[in-house]
Amino acid sequence: MPVYRASPERHDSRVNLTTLPPPAPLSGRATRAARVWRRLRWWIPGAIVVLLLGATSFLLTLSESQERAEAGNELVTDTLWVRESLKFQLEREAEALELIAADVAAGTLSRATLEARLQVFLRRGRESLVVALVRPGMPVSVNVPHDAAIGHMDPLGAVPSAAIEAAMARAARSGDAVFSAPFAAPWGAGIVLVAPVKGSEPAHLVAVYWLERLLDEMVPWTFAQSHEVTISDVTNTVHARRASGGRGRGVYSHQASLEIPGTTLLLGTNSVKGPPDWITNVIRGGTVALAILLFWSLYALWRDVQRRVAAERRLREEVAFRRAMGDSAVIGLRARDLDGRVTFVNPAFCRMVGIAEEGLVGHGPPMPYWIPELLNEYQRRVDEVLSGQASTAPFETEFRRANGERFPVVIYDAPLRDADARQTGWMSSILDVTEEKQAEERERLQHERLQTAARLSTMGEMASSLAHELNQPLGAIASYLAGSLNLIERGGASAEELAPALAKASQQAQRAGQVIRRVHEFVRKREPQRTLLDPAQLMDNCRALVELQARRTGTRVSVEIEPGTPAVVGDLVMLEQVILNLTRNGIEAMSEVDPGRRVLVISAGPGEGGGACIGVRDHGTGIPDEVAERLFSPFFTTKADGMGMGLSICRSIVEAHGGRLVFERMDLGTRFRMQFPAP
């Protein structure tokens, strides 16, 4: 038997057919490079993110410092502007007071005029608290009622005299109006303007300024809102402060020296604005958040890829596992799609039918391994399976190998489903049951031989012992009689001489008679056990045995029981034997005819006289005339190994049941008919 062997290359190519790439057969170096690359692959995006973060931070820092510089420049400009306006104001004060002092020195002013002029001088600005003409001995002063808060005080009186005197001394020296250094008074910080009155007697015009109010008056509101403005002396002691917009942050600050006649003050500005943090923070935070998000998504991607790789490996292993399972199975496996087209076969199936995989996959019905006579049966099964009506029960049939050899198979079908549980086809396991069938056949043959042997040996033994039993008395009788005859022939034999021998011969004759009687009794004990038998029951009992007989020659057995068949009174075992004998004869009669014609029909129906009629019909060669005449005679047989007792005994048994056994010649074959009496 040519055994088809699947080549391993073919299997590999089939692996490639799946969506999976084949396991990469890499050299050592390539493997190492691939491993390094695999590791690096995940670090490169990380490095890019870090670089991006660094660049963003750098740009932010750069823009922040630029912004800082711009804000600083603006502050300096504003500060200088404030200083200039302060300086201009204070210098104008000094000039105005000098004019009055010159008028006083000229002596053209009356006291009232002087006072009026001083009033006018005071009223020009709210920062000047008091102005007075100081002469040694009699001070004249004009108190200004500007400010209610210090109205009851004498601002001049609260000014430290050291400050005034130092200023007077400097004024006297320069001859121009000078300012004193700042000082602290109970009402606040102030400075004094001293204008010398040139004349014979030393006199001075003294004006007291309140520095806080100076700032209030002179610094623009908008600027003050965003800056803390301070006036300090050269020792950096702060004397006045305007911080209507809050304290300065010390981020943007500037100090400019305010040089006025007689003294130098320091004008300090300090922006309440902090550094431009929040934008930076937002951008930086956003960048970091984005980076984290990027990292996280990278990690998620990595994890997902890892899972996918693991899943792929598992899938590959699973596929390899399934393939190994399919390849190693001794059971043939075959998958078909819903059109009945073969989509998969395993090597065992290829070996079984002797056709290469290429010759099977993609092939639709009719299959190359089908047997032409059974096409209808296959097609019916295919239709049943594909329409989903087929049960999961195994299906027994025959297939044909490529060399034409037929072999029996058992097929189990199971639906094949895809991932969505939708049916895509059918998976079948095909079992080559040749050996089982052969074993079954062998067993059946052996069983049959054993039975025959047992039957023959029983009959032979019985016949042999019967012969022996009868031989003894018959031999003895013959000897006695022959001896007696010898004596008589020789003459002179007296009756007395002969009598004992004849008596003994008679005894032996009686003994032979007893043997015969025993046999008769033995046979009588086997008389039928009569019971009421249902013909259907009788058929059922026989059926398995008949099918066993029929299987060897591939004969089909059909059992037909007409409704209303009467019961039979008889011995179940004996009638079974009759039926089996007739079926065996029928099957043997068909052993020579075309296999398609081998149909044995066992029928039961109502017969003549209200009794049952059981028929066994073959489609064999029929009974020749010369055989028909002697068919029921004992010891008549047409079989090489037959005893010639079968039909004779059958007829005896049927007749013992009060029935008749007859046969009819049909167009094809013979029909034996058992007619039983009504029960």
Binding site: H468, A476, I477, G483
Partner: protein, 204 residues
Amino acid sequence: MIYVVDDEEPIRDALAWLLRSRDLACRAFASGEEFLAHLDAGGIDPDSPAAVLLDVRMGGISGTELFERLRAEARIPAWPVVFLTGHGDVPMAVEALKQGAFDFVEKPFNDNSLVDRLVAALDESRRRLEEARESARREERLAALTHREREVLHLIVEGLYNKVIADRLGIAMRTVEVYRARIFEKMGVKSAVELARLLGKREE
């Protein structure tokens, strides 16, 4: 004398009756063991002419077994054995014939033909006994020859002339003639031909 060995009493009795009706002496045994015991006890003279009728199928040792034993021990070489066989024992009986049984008779037997066969067996027995006696006599006479006489005898039987014999043995022809005469006398023969026949029988 006919020895019947059969385990069936009626058969034994009937056969005895039959044989007696033909003037044949008969002795019956119920089993092979009984027969052997009798033989051992010396109740039977093996040198008188007799035949044995053996039933093949018997209780105890069977007919064929008994036959094998007798043949192996050469207890009764002069007695032919006739088997009585039942239906189906024929192959066994044929085998026994090959082993040297005289005959077999199938049951049920034709009685007088059975007796005829037994008579033939008795004749055979007598012939065997006669032969045995003759052979014994011959051996006796041969034993009486001297060594030299025996040498001469062999040459005579070969058919050589006295002169040739004398040359072969390196003796005088006259001496050969003396030996020849003495040998003829001792062997009880009158001619060389007779002597050759006697010795020829021995060799058979």
